[in-house]
Amino acid sequence: MERLQSARISLGRWVCLWAVSCIKTPQMFAFIETLKPKRRLKMSLSAKDKAAVKAFWAKVSGQADAIGSDALSRMLVVYPQTKTYFAHWKDLSPGSAPVMKHGKTVMGGIADAVGKIDDISSGLLNLSELHAFTLRVDPTNFKILSHNILVVMAMMFPQDFTPEVHVALDKFLAAVSLALSEKYR
């Protein structure tokens, strides 16, 4: 509904556009472009989504480490195929030292992405290259870990993790996953 309304240009805007288009200078053409309503190209983050993510993150970032290690523990138990990436760890059980440490690392990346939410792709460039050339994690697993992060957030913050927050975070994690797999091929 909102999308439809933003696509319609009001009559007033059309009249202004017509009047102004009579002045054919480059500056005027650039100005005309700014009057046209912007269309979002894909399922990108709206201003509302970004605000919801930042607000929720402000509430939960204090427990980021716990969230990360719980999500990772869960992933290794519920989706055993993900253990193949951690064969070099001594202990893959929930709450073990390598799992806790890595959960913290992952959430550090998420925190970084929240800070750079206006341009996640360029903000996460280094991590993107790391995942593409060194780690080479199959991108399906980003979805799996994202799901487990959402489950943990629902568990730890049942009142705050409303459907509106859920959709914003789901989109945000999808954007992060996309950024991480950007350099794969």
Partner: protein
Amino acid sequence: MKQLGLLVTMQPSVKEKNAAMVEWTEQERSIITNIFGNLDYEDVGSKALSRCLIVYPWTQRYFASFGNLYNAEAIKTNPNIAAHGTKVLHGLDRAVKNMDNIKATYAELSVLHSEKLHVDPDNFKLLADCLTIVIAAKLGSAFSPEIQATFQKFLAVVVSALGRQYH
């Protein structure tokens, strides 16, 4: 006579047929019965369905006749959606009571979803994910990784059974 003999030997034995079925341990059975035994169907059902319609808005395509779905508030307070969520959750009861034969139990429902309701089977997974999240929010730290694994396994079997009669 030879052909008959061949016919007989080619049929999978009862043991082989059973081997193709989903295996449930005692612990998994009790986890599933416990979760559903303590469930407030109205609360969880309506929350799961409304969350699905909000988080994955394209699923609203199946509920055009349900009234006001214009924003999250409208969806959350829509009585038709709440009633339907309860109905869907009660539909899972059949699987809980027939865990060894979920595929056959849902054959008819699968045909219904395919032939009459025309639901894209990918949507079953979306609702299953939302249901997992709602149960997680309800159980909190009691929703251990093992319980999550069992619950998701159960839902995956249900989702697979519902998608079986699509042609």
